[in-house]
C-alpha cells in the first residue's frame, strides 16, 4: 500500500496551491488535458460502437478459432507501448499501401488528433471488450430465449433484456478503456508528439524545465484519472451490494 500511495501522495502534495492554480490557467496545459480527455473519450466511444457487437458474439457463441480471436484482442495489452506506435506507423505510414490509401482520401495519422485516437483505441479496446464480454456472459441465454418465445424479435430482445442487464458492464468497460487510453504515452509519442496530449506535455516539461514544472500538470492528470477510477469502483461496489 505504502509503495503505491507514498510516491503518489508525495507528488500530489509537492506543488503549492498557487502553482496548481497558475498551471490550470496555462492555455497549453488546459488544451493538452482537454485533448487527452477528448481523444480517450473518442477511443472509448469507438470501442463501444465496434466492441459491443464483437463482445456479444464472443460471449454467446462457441466456434473454432474463438480462443485465437480472444488472444488477438488481448495482444495490445502485452505489447510494449512504443512498439504499438511503431506497428501502427508501419501500416499507416507512407511506405505501406494502406497508409498511402488513407493519405489519399485526406486522413492524416502522423501528428494528428486522428492518429492519437487510432493509437488510444488500439490500446484501450481490449479493456472494453473484455469487460463487456464478461457482462454479456453473466446474462443467462435463457432470458433471451424466453423473451423470443414471448414474441420479441432479436432486436427488441437486445434492447429490452440484454442491454438493460449489460449496460453497467458497458459503463465499466468505457471507464476502463478511457483510463487506459488517457495514460498512454509511449505509443502516442511515436505517432504524434504534437498536438500534445497531457502525458507528452508532462514529459516535455520534465525534460525542458525539470521536476518542479512537470508536477502540477501531473497532479491535474492524476486527479482526472482518479475520478475515472472512483466512478468505476462505485459502480462495481453498487453491483456487489445488489447481488448480496
Amino acid at each position: 500500500m505504502a509503495f503505491i500511495l507514498l510516491p503518489l501522495i508525495e507528488m500530489m502534495t509537492a506543488p503549492s496551491f498557487a502553482m496548481l492554480k497558475e498551471t490550470i490557467k496555462d492555455k497549453d496545459v488546459v488544451r493538452s488535458i482537454w485533448l487527452s480527455i477528448y481523444t480517450a473519450g473518442s477511443a472509448a466511444l469507438i470501442s463501444f460502437i465496434f466492441g459491443t457487437p464483437l463482445a456479444y458474439v464472443l460471449a454467446r457463441n462457441d466456434f473454432k478459432g474463438k480462443k485465437l480471436i480472444e488472444s488477438i484482442i488481448d495482444l495490445p495489452v502485452v505489447i510494449p507501448h512504443p512498439v504499438v506506435g511503431i506497428a501502427i506507423l508501419s501500416v499507416a505510414g507512407k511506405n505501406h499501401w494502406i497508409g498511402e490509401l488513407i493519405n489519399q482520401i485526406g486522413i492524416r495519422i502522423m501528428g494528428s488528433v486522428t492518429g492519437i485516437i487510432v493509437v488510444l483505441t488500439f490500446v484501450g479496446m481490449p479493456f472494453y471488450i473484455n469487460s463487456v464480454k464478461s457482462g454479456f456472459e453473466s446474462i443467462p441465454p435463457r432470458l433471451e430465449k424466453v423473451s423470443r418465445s414471448l414474441g420479441a424479435s432479436m432486436f427488441s430482445t437486445f434492447f429490452r433484456i440484454t442491454f438493460p442487464l449489460a449496460w453497467k458492464s458497458m459503463l465499466v468497460g468505457i471507464v476502463m478503456c478511457s483510463a487506459r487510453a488517457i495514460s498512454e504515452f509511449g505509443a502516442v509519442v511515436i505517432i504524434a508528439y504534437h498536438p500534445m496530449i497531457a502525458p507528452v506535455m508532462i514529459y516535455e516539461r520534465f525534460e525542458a524545465y525539470g521536476l518542479k514544472y512537470s508536477q502540477p500538470v501531473a497532479v491535474w492528470l492524476v486527479f482526472i484519472c482518479l475520478t475515472l477510477f472512483l466512478i468505476l469502483r462505485m459502480l462495481t461496489l453498487h453491483d456487489r451490494e445488489k447481488a448480496a
Binding site: 435463457r142 430465449k145 429490452r160
Partner: protein
Amino acid sequence: MIRIQDLNIHLKDFSLFNINLDIGRNEFFILMGPTGAGKTVLLEAIAGLIPIKSGNIYIGEKNVTKLAPEKRGVSIVYQDYSLFPHLTVRENMRYGLHFHKIDKKLSDQTFDRLVENLNLSYILNRLPLNLSGGELQRVTMARALMVNPDILLLDEPLSALDPAFREEIRAGLKKLHRDSDVTFLMVTHDFAEALSLSDRAAIMNNGKIIQTGSMEGIFKRPDSTFVADFVGMKNLFIAQFRETKAYTGTLEITLSTMPSNGKGYIAIRPEDIVLSREKLTSSMRNSFAGHIIEITDCGLYYETGIMVENIIFKSLVTKSALIDLQLVEGARIFVSFKETAIHTF
C-alpha cells in the same frame, strides 16, 4: 397440434435422432427420460430456439420449421424460471404484450384473472430477486400464459419446488389445462406427476424417442428393457416362450397370453409380487419357494430381494407386512404373482 417429422439435431453437447411425434390439440403430453436424453433440446426445437439439422415441425397445419421463435405462438417455461431480473412481477407478466396485438381490455382481463388464479396480487411490484420458489414459479406461468399461446412448453417446472408446494402447483396446472385450450408439453422426472397430469407420454433416451403411449400403458407395458428399467419394473428376466409358458432359468412361469416370438423378456412390477409364508392356493398359478437375501428400507415401504432357485425377485412390502410375515434376511418365503401381472415383450 404439434407434429414433428424425422427431426434431427446435432449440437455440440446434444443430438436428437429421427424424432417423430404427434401431439393433439389441448393434450397434456409428458416427456420423460434420464438426464441428458435431449428433452430440453426437443422443447427448444419446438420453440424455434435452436438450429435443426433436418426434419419438419408443424404447429397446427403450418410448417414452422424455419419460422422465427417469436412468430410461433409457443411459450416456454424453464426449470430455473428465467424471470427478467430487472423487471417487476407486473412488468414480467406484461412483457409479452409489447409484441402482441391483443386488445387492451382483453389483456387486462387476462391479467386480472391470472393474478387472481395464481394469487399474485401481493407481489406485483416486487423484483424476482425477492421471491420464493413457489412465487417465482407462479409468476413464470402467468407470464407465459399472458400472451395466449397455442402451446405451453414446461421444462421440469415443479422439480425445484418443495414437495408441499409441488402438490399445489400440480393441481393448479391441471386446472389451467382444463380451463384453457392450450396444448401442454411438459418434461418431468416425477412419475406421480406424469401419471396424474398426462394424457399421453413419451420416453426419451440418448436423443431418441423410445416409447410413446398413455402413461399407464408405458408404466405397465414397456416395450424395451430400457423403459422397463426406467419405469421401475424391477423384475425383468430374459425368457424362452413356448405356447403360454415362459422359461427363465429353471422356472416355468404361466402366462395369460401366448407371446408371438420364441424368445424375449418378461417383466413384473415389484408391487405385483405377493409374499406369503405358505404356498398360496388361490388363482395365482405362479408361486415359488425362495428365501430372502436382502431387505432395504425405502422410507414408506421396504424393498425385498428374494432368491428363487437362481433368480432374484424384487417385491415391495409395507412395514406392517414386514412385521406380520416376520420377514428377515434368510427367511423362507413364497413369491406369487398373477398371470395378468406379467408383461412380455
